[in-house]
């Protein structure tokens, strides 16, 4: 544990200039839930820690039928879980938040921290991916937008340059007749990180029409969270049946090359990808045809599936 100096930024611009002034050995913290654990373990050793929690306006969550959902980087996982529009229009995101650690961590952990930490198992990431989210990044030279599926470059690695901040996540309005779901498989339920996490979204062309859009995102089975493109392609344009959903789930399973680690073997992870892809697709399809379940019903299917 190396001692560090502690700084606070009140504006995005101030945070950026602090990062520039103190160079590569300075780091941002938001909720500090990843930071303090890594620092105590001696893995992260910054000289300067720049807390951005007091930057005004960055914890807002807003929804409008025109602009969709805008989640400030400092919004906590708990605030996302409890937000009425998130529960209503982005159920996969609400249940992903509910499957994330205990309440005491969710009240601290931010969505920006979850994304920038770039863990392959980050629970918010698959759910944000299936809705086509985009990241707003601000640096000394202005701002840029990067699609979330282009944001990650490896475990713990992102497109962020030193001196840049993630300030907002933008999530488009889902099409009509859309359903979505997330399931986290972990031996200890919400209290451990995911062995595998799967989010699926299905949009239908009319309530009983063919599949207009299918998105499947997988966590903890590759160096970054990934989309299951071939499985998605197999569904678009089709009149969905149980057999098609199973075939898509098998494609997702056969397409992944996970690793063995303490939480599961590669073979086990592959099987789980198949099972969870099928279950999340079924749930998303049902919600697209018959409307969503209540939050508590969905949460039971998300967290309990883990035990």
């Amino acid at each position: 544990m190396k001692r560090f100096e502690y700084l606070e930024a009140r504006t995005v611009r101030q945070a950026i200039s602090m990062l520039q002034r103190h160079g590569e050995n300075a780091c941002i913290v938001a909720g500090s839930t990843d930071f303090l654990v890594r620092w105590r373990a001696g893995v992260w050793n910054p000289d300067h820690v720049i807390n951005i929690q007091r930057v005004a306006g960055l914890s807002r969550i807003t929804y409008s039928g025109r602009n969709g959902l805008r989640i400030g980087a400092l919004a906590t996982i708990r605030a996302i879980e409890q937000h009425a529009a998130v529960r209503r229009y982005y159920p996969a995101l609400a249940v992903a938040a509910a499957s994330f650690a205990g309440v005491q961590v969710r009240n601290l952990a931010t969505v920006g921290g979850n994304i920038c930490n770039a863990s392959p198992s980050g629970d918010m990431i698959p759910a944000l991916l299936v809705f086509g989210s985009e990241c707003k990044i601000v640096g000394a030279d202005g701002e840029r937008a990067v699609a979330l599926d282009k944001f990650f470059t490896g475990p713990g690695q992102t497109v962020l340059q030193h001196g840049e901040l993630l300030t907002e996540v933008r999530v488009p309005v889902p099409a009509r007749n859309t359903g979505s779901h997330y399931i986290k498989h972990s031996p200890r339920g919400a209290m451990d990180i995911a062995t595998v996490g799967v989010a699926s979204l299905v949009s239908l062309d009319g309530r009983n029409g063919p599949c207009a859009e299918a998105c499947i995102a997988l966590g903890a089975v590759a160096p970054t969270p990934i989309r299951a493109y071939s499985a998605e392609d197999s569904l678009r344009g089709q009149a969905l049946t149980q057999d098609l959903l199973i075939a898509a789930a098998n494609l997702a399973r056969d397409g992944v090359r996970p690793i063995d680690d303490i939480r599961g073997s590669a073979e086990h992870r592959k099987e789980i990808v198949g099972v969870l892809t099928r279950r999340t697709l079924e749930q998303a399809f049902n919600a697209a045809t018959s409307g969503p379940l209540t939050f508590n019903e969905q949460r039971r299917l998300t967290v309990q599936a883990a035990f």
């Binding site: 839930t33 807390n51 205990g102 309440v103 005491q104 961590v105 601290l108």
Partner: protein
């Protein structure tokens, strides 16, 4: 370099000179002598260090002390009203919601935070609210029973 900070702890404005890397947990225990808040794991897993930060349950081991500057914190020392135990504390004492007691301050604060959040106090929601508090002794059955008793007591109080 140590810096001055101020935190309203249990309704009282407290000041301390604290290292930049200190946690809120270490500040409460070592600088303010409030040792009711426990350190189990120091990495967010056990919930023994739970306090209310601006009304919400958090793991105080995951909060940088200076990040809590100007905040309001409630610890287990501030839950009772003088000699009168809080209904949640009473329920745990009377219904065997604790054995060794190490996890208890954290569980009480999570429960108080949950009951004040306005969420429907169903057994299912209680279990989700306490998922971040580990207990090695009770097996949780008595813990959940005690919370349910506290819910009833609180409802009766508000009806009277």
């Amino acid at each position: 370099m140590k810096k001055q900070l101020q935190i309203t702890v249990n309704g009282e404005l407290r000041q301390a000179l604290v290292e930049p890397y200190y946690s809120l947990l270490d500040t409460l225990r070592d600088e303010m002598q409030l040792t009711g808040t426990k350190k189990g794991c120091d990495e967010g897993d056990c919930g023994a260090c739970t306090v209310l930060l601006n009304g919400k349950p958090v793991c105080s081991c995951l909060v940088l002390a200076h990040a809590a500057h100007d905040a309001e914190v409630i610890t287990i020392e501030g839950v009772a009203n003088g000699q009168e135990l809080h209904p949640v504390q009473k329920a745990f004492v009377e219904h065997g919601g604790l054995q060794c007691g190490y996890c208890t301050p954290g569980i009480i604060l999570s429960t108080v935070g949950f009951l004040e959040s306005g969420e429907e106090p169903s057994e299912e929601n209680i279990k989700h609210a306490l998922g971040g508090n580990l207990c090695r002794c009770t097996g949780y059955t008595k813990v959940i029973e005690s919370v349910l008793v506290a819910v009833k007591a609180t409802n009766q109080e508000s009806e009277e």
